[in-house]
């Protein structure tokens, strides 16, 4: 600890703390623009200049580490003059005319800083040099004329996302923000995570939906979680008059620490599907609006009939909360004996991981955020560009730290380009890849096992033949793994285990042999699938979706976009009851449609990929006739006299699980 006096206030702070953070701890506000608590200090804007006793000039507090007995003054005529001068220079560089900017009036950190200094005008007028506006991106606009070159976006893109799309072209006053080497943003390597928008202090990065839709003082904040995938990122949903304005990453969420992807931030804004607003029943061949009573009467009769005739099937979305999935299982699997009772996702790999956990008698996967300490990433069958993107950001942000990346994927791995070693085995030969790497580790003497070592060359040849991967690749991979101290293994959702735990078991033992999994650490995580993929498996809803002829199907779709493949399977149904938020091919073919909440309207529990139990809060109020998924299922249970229990934890906790379940 070092001692520092700021504005006559003496405090002790850990060594290495910057003066700015020390001041924060002491409750002293120093104005800043380029500083952001989640980005490395940059020292670019000079707004945070402070007087340090004994220093010849003013010092930027954001980059200055405290030293013992340092005496700092933040609010002197000298610092005030400097701040005003810094702001004067910034305003003189670009088009900072406020009246037509969407962040003016409270949401602009630059304007707020000027107000705080009591600036009534610009002592130096702008130079009126225009910059181009880049409106090529589908989700946001880059307005360089409002940029103050703080480089928060550049740092977020590189440090948090590991994407390094944004950068600065030219020098001095001519500097401006570009994507890649000057490519229009819409055609660049941008992955549309939108983190740059979230950190921009001015109106230079504008998203296409929320601009002019509501300022900070006019919107409501709802801290909840994204149900786009099994990571369950913390998000902040901004609404105004029950209308979605914007979605931002929640900096306080331990799962994602503020970072979210396109799926969480922008896709909900582009929702164009038509809402199901009333119950509907097919009469004389046409779907007609009906009352809840009418619709439920048909549902009750049909479900009862089908259950007796043993031709009832039920499918639920893994985007729905645990409460709904649990009720669904009690009603359709436990009581009505429907078959299959499953999810649209099927979740074969997760099903296999549960079996393995059962065999091992313990959970064997760890926490996703252990990845931040890894020095080698081994990714098996994952596509972290399309799915589980935040896990991909975690991987990519490690790469500049000289962390090795090994991708193993039967398909083209989108991360292969950044990988130190990228293996593309033949279909169905993942097991041979594991054998190959193990043989290479033995051959190179990284694993000592005299009994097996003699056979290692032979095994290596065999693996190479079965996978079509050259032996040198195996040896290189083995070397990279063996030279790391803290390898981390990611299992993608395309491992194709067919519900069989053999491959996972081999992978688990492999993780042991390379010290990714030991008694004290579990550097292994399966990405699973949709939001409540693990929950569905824990409740036993992970069978294959096949239908007999003349099946009555009950589909709790929620707001999921069901794949064409599943729709094709479901078309065989003789009678279809669909519980859905939006119109789709399935509702068009349905015999009864029950309107239900979408993810932003629904409150409930989700269990993410590493077993973290989180609660989704409702951010919006659903339309009048729309009921929650749980409420509809409760209505069915009561109509059919099915006893239900809203307690789900006890059922889930008894099941073997690949991850330890815990609520944060």
């Amino acid at each position: 600890m070092v001692s520092i006096t700021i504005d006559n206030k003496k405090i002790e702070v850990p060594e290495g703390t910057t003066v700015l953070r020390a001041a924060e701890m002491a409750g002293i506000h120093i104005p800043t623009l380029c500083d952001h608590p989640h980005l490395t200090p940059y020292g670019g804007c000079r707004l945070c200049l402070v007087e340090v006793e004994g220093a010849r000039t003013l010092q930027p507090s954001c980059t200055l580490p405290v030293s013992n007995n340092m005496v700092v003054k933040t609010d002197t005529p000298k610092t005030k003059d400097a701040r005003k001068f810094v702001l004067t220079m910034i305003f003189s560089e670009r088009n900072h005319f406020c009246p037509y900017c969407q962040v003016s009036g409270g949401d602009c950190e630059l304007q707020n800083a000027a107000y705080a200094e009591g600036m009534t005008h610009w002592p130096i007028q702008p130079n009126y040099v225009p910059f181009e506006v880049d409106a090529s991106h589908p989700y946001f606009i880059l307005e360089n004329n409002r940029c103050i070159l703080c480089r928060r976006c550049v740092r977020a893109c590189g440090e948090l996302i590991g994407n390094f799309t944004l950068g600065i072209e030219e020098r001095g006053a001519k500097s401006y923000l570009i994507a890649d080497l000057g490519t229009p943003l819409g055609e660049s390597t941008c992955v549309s995570c939108g983190s740059c928008l979230q950190v921009c202090p001015t109106g230079a990065l504008i998203d296409r939906w929320s601009a002019y839709q509501g300022k900070e003082k006019e919107v409501e904040h709802h801290k909840t979680i994204c149900v786009g995938c099994s990571i369950g990122c913390g998000i902040d949903v901004l609404t105004r008059d029950n209308r979605l304005v914007r979605i931002e990453g929640d900096w306080d969420s331990p799962v994602n620490e503020g970072v979210i992807c396109k799926v969480g931030r922008f896709l909900p804004m582009t929702e164009e599907r038509m809402r199901v607003l009333t119950p509907m029943v097919r009469k004389n061949g046409a779907l007609k609006a009906a009352t809840w009573e009418e619709a439920m009467a048909v549902v009750e009769q049909k479900v009862k009939e089908a259950s007796q005739q043993k031709n009832l099937a039920a499918v639920i979305s893994t985007r729905l909360p645990v409460e709904a999935i649990s009720l669904f299982k009690q009603i359709f699997a436990d009581n009505l004996q429907a078959a299959p009772v499953t999810t649209f996702e099927q979740g074969e790999t997760t099903a296999a991981s549960l079996k393995l956990a059962g065999q091992l008698g313990t959970s064997y996967e760890g926490k996703l955020n252990a990845i931040h300490q890894a020095d080698c990433i081994i990714s098996f069958g994952a596509d972290m560009l399309s799915n589980h993107q935040v896990a991909g950001f975690f991987v990519k942000r490690l790469l500049p730290k000289k962390v090795n990346l090994i991708t193993i994927n039967k398909s083209d791995d989108p991360f292969a380009d950044f990988a130190n070693c990228s293996l593309k085995p033949l279909k169905g030969s993942y097991l041979d890849v594991i054998n190959g790497i193990t043989a290479a580790l033995l051959k190179l003497g990284y694993i000592i096992d005299p009994a097996k070592a003699t056979k290692s060359s032979e095994e290596l040849q065999k693996a190479s033949l079965n996978t079509s991967i050259p032996t040198e690749q195996f040896l290189k991979t083995a070397h990279l793994i063996a030279s790391s101290e803290n390898p981390f293994v990611i299992l993608g959702d395309s491992l194709n285990t067919n519900g069989n735990p053999d491959l996972l078991s081999a992978l688990y033992h492999f993780c042991h042999s390379i010290n990714a999994v030991t008694d004290s650490k579990k550097n292994l995580i399966g990405l699973k699938g949709s939001a409540n993929n693990l929950t569905a498996s824990l409740l036993g809803l992970d069978q294959k979706l096949t239908l007999q002829q003349n099946t009555v199907t009950y589909l709790a779709i929620g707001d999921e976009e069901v794949s064409e493949q599943r729709i094709k399977t479901l078309e065989k149904s003789s009678f279809m009851i669909v519980q859905a938020s939006y119109h789709s091919k399935l509702t068009a073919n349905a015999d009864v449609v029950l309107p239900t909440e979408n993810w932003l309207e629904c409150k409930g529990t989700y269990i993410n990929l590493d077993g973290t139990i989180q609660t989704a809060q409702a951010s919006l109020v659903p339309p009048d006739e729309v009921k929650s998924n749980q409420a509809i299922l409760e209505m069915i249970a009561s109509a059919l006299n099915i006893p239900i229990n809203s307690e789900w934890k006890s059922v889930i906790i008894e099941r073997p699980s690949p991850v330890l379940l815990n609520s944060d």
Binding site: C98, G105, A114, Q125, Y128
Partner: protein, 180 residues
């Protein structure tokens, strides 16, 4: 003591700041108790007294030689000069044309606009004033008090006028300091 004299004028603006001044509603009667409103663009007398006024108020930026003359005349004839509104303070909306050359803006305005027929012509009568870059008032003449806002709220204008009328210099802060 005689009431302080006030004169105002507008230049390259939308007259919205004067409208906002009228928005102080019946409070204008309180102001009249305290001051002598002489010339304004919305009353009969258009130019400040040759003998001088105590307070001059200018709305709008300066975008041609006529505005320059107005600004110099006001500055010469007043003791304290107030720049009222974003255009007078910063240049405002009219200043957006500074991102183009004067020729480009004139061509756009008189020749290329969709509503102009093929005979579009940039006016060049020697009687007309000459357009210039758009400037904030303080780029042409010294300004004593800046009242930003697009337009400044009626409350802000009332505050500024009543302070000045009572011989105090207004300090804009908190909700009265708005650039909009």
């Amino acid at each position: 003591m005689a009431k302080p004299k006030i004169a105002s004028d507008w230049m390259a603006g939308c007259s919205g700041c004067h409208m906002s001044l009228l928005d102080i509603d019946e409070r204008i009667l309180d102001i009249i108790e305290l001051v002598d409103i002489r010339a304004t663009p919305i009353t009969d007398l258009k130019e400040p007294d040759a003998g001088g006024v105590d307070l001059g108020i200018l709305e709008g930026g300066i975008n041609n030689t006529a505005n320059e003359e107005q600004a110099h005349r006001m500055r010469k004839r007043c003791k304290l000069l107030v720049a009222l509104g974003d255009c007078a303070v910063f240049g405002g909306v009219p200043a957006m044309r500074n991102f183009f050359t004067l020729e480009e803006s004139l061509r756009r305005a008189y020749v290329e606009t969709e509503s102009t027929d093929s005979e579009g012509k940039i006016p060049d009568d020697p009687e007309l004033c000459v357009p210039t870059r758009v400037r904030a008032v303080h780029e042409v003449v010294p300004v004593d008090i800046f009242v930003p806002g697009c337009p400044p709220d009626a409350d802000t204008i009332f505050y500024v006028l009543s302070e000045l009328a009572q011989g105090r210099i207004p300090v804009l802060k908190n909700d009265k300091l708005q650039w909009h």
